[in-house]
């Protein structure tokens, strides 16, 4: 069957049938413009988040407490950069250039995950980020690995393998501190007190307030709602917290036998919207660091291009 003679409506119906059957959409396949646009928005934000995610942890590389921890943190931050690159290259298959995406990022038009606008105040925060932030990311990304767009799904498979190291190294930091002095235990607890709620916010607005969820679920870009994934993360994390004697700062957190899930307290959505809309503790600093890095790297990019042009002209002359 040739699809060349089909009308827009027929094409869209065929697309939805394919999605229903669980088929994977590849870059050259016909797709509705809205599918393409939503994927570009979601994937580029995801890539930007990986890149910004290097900043809060990069902040502690020079102050890691041992050579082992330093080597690990360095590898983790390098992975985050790599994850950004996997997803950028996946997004480019949708017909947007790397330049356009970077431009959206550096001008502040495109968003990134709200979690990276929180400061990392002490070493225990490296534990909290690995355990909670990467833990939440794994829950999200494991599901995205089964999404309907091939290049996104393949990038997620690769990322999930690497995130497990991030997750466990964070937990190990906290487990070690929880066996330490009172001051160390307190430091670990303080980090969790600050990062628990923002980590829950990483799953996005509650289902009733999530404007993009409907289409994304219909297209199988998302397979579960924000609240379902949040619940999955909570259910998984509470026993891990109990295991090392750290308290999650929610007095309403309680196992609900009937539901088979943990009940939890209300999320402060006002804080969430403030942070996404640029009024979080570190938004300005993160954007400035990103822009400075781009500007400071310009001479390197220029030199590389100049070198390449010189090589080309030498070839022509010869």
């Amino acid at each position: 069957m040739s699809i060349k003679n089909l009308t827009e409506e027929e094409l869209e119906k065929r697309f939805h049938d394919r999605i229903e059957k669980g088929e994977i959409i590849e870059p050259k396949d016909w797709m509705p413009e809205r599918y393409r646009k939503q994927l570009i928005r979601m994937m580029s934000q995801h890539a930007h988040s990986e890149v910004v995610g290097m900043l809060p942890e990069g902040n502690w590389i020079t102050r890691a407490p041992s050579l082992r921890r330093k080597a690990v943190l360095l590898a983790k931050v390098q992975d985050e950069g790599g994850h950004g690159l996997y997803i950028y290259c996946g997004t480019e298959t949708l017909g947007i250039s790397r330049e356009e995406m970077l431009d959206g990022f550096l001008t502040g038009k495109a968003k990134y995950s709200s979690i990276f606008n929180y400061p990392t105040l002490n070493w225990a925060d490296m534990g909290a980020i690995g355990w909670l932030v990467d833990g939440a990311a794994i829950v999200n990304q494991t599901v995205l690995a089964k999404c309907s767009y091939g290049p996104y799904s393949r990038a997620m498979v690769r990322i999930c393998k690497e995130e497990n190291f991030h997750h466990k190294q964070g937990y190990e930091i906290l487990a070690t501190m929880m066996k330490g002095t009172d001051a160390q235990k307190q430091m670990a607890q303080d980090a969790i007190n600050r990062f628990w709620w923002p980590s829950l916010m990483m799953f996005g607005p509650s289902d009733k307030d999530s404007p993009n969820s409907g289409d994304l679920l219909k297209w199988k870009v998302k397979l579960f709602s924000n609240d379902e994934l949040r619940q999955r993360f909570i259910d998984r994390t509470v026993p891990q917290a109990e295991n090392i004697g750290i308290k999650l700062p929610d007095p309403l957190l309680k196992w609900n036998e009937a539901k088979g899930h943990y009940d939890h307290g209300d999320i402060n959505w006002e804080e969430f919207y403030n942070v996404i809309n640029g009024r979080g503790p570190c938004n300005k600093q993160r954007m400035k660091q990103r822009r400075d890095a781009h500007i400071n790297g310009e001479w390197v990019r220029d030199a590389v291009v100049a070198h390449e042009e010189k090589k080309k002209s030498e070839k022509v002359a010869a």
């Binding site: 050259k28 790397r98 390449e308």
Partner: protein, 94 residues
């Protein structure tokens, strides 16, 4: 703000172990082939995922299109006799 280019795109193929085929892993941006190889190593083989890498300029790849998926591949559709289970071999073990 970003007027500078991010350089040409290269497709990366990785071979996981000896004897295995090279498989598409993703892509990188690089100004020349040496840089493309180095970037491919840093992006797609930080954990020994590859023992060999190919990088190919994306624009050098010609691919079939989904539109001609049917007519392009259908010459193979009616030739079941190209498969061994097409043949009746009563009683014999192979």
């Amino acid at each position: 703000m970003t007027t500078d280019t991010q350089w040409p795109l290269w497709e990366v193929f990785t071979q996981k172990k000896q004897g295995a085929p090279h498989e598409h892993a993703g892509s990188v941006h690089a100004v020349d082939k040496e840089m493309a190889l180095q970037n491919a190593r840093d992006v797609y083989s930080r954990r020994n995922e590859a023992i060999s890498l190919w990088v190919v300029p994306t624009e050098a790849i010609t691919a079939s299109t989904p539109e001609d998926m049917g007519s392009f591949f259908d010459p193979a559709n009616d030739k079941a006799y190209r498969h061994p289970n097409f043949f009746k071999t009563p009683g014999a073990k192979f």
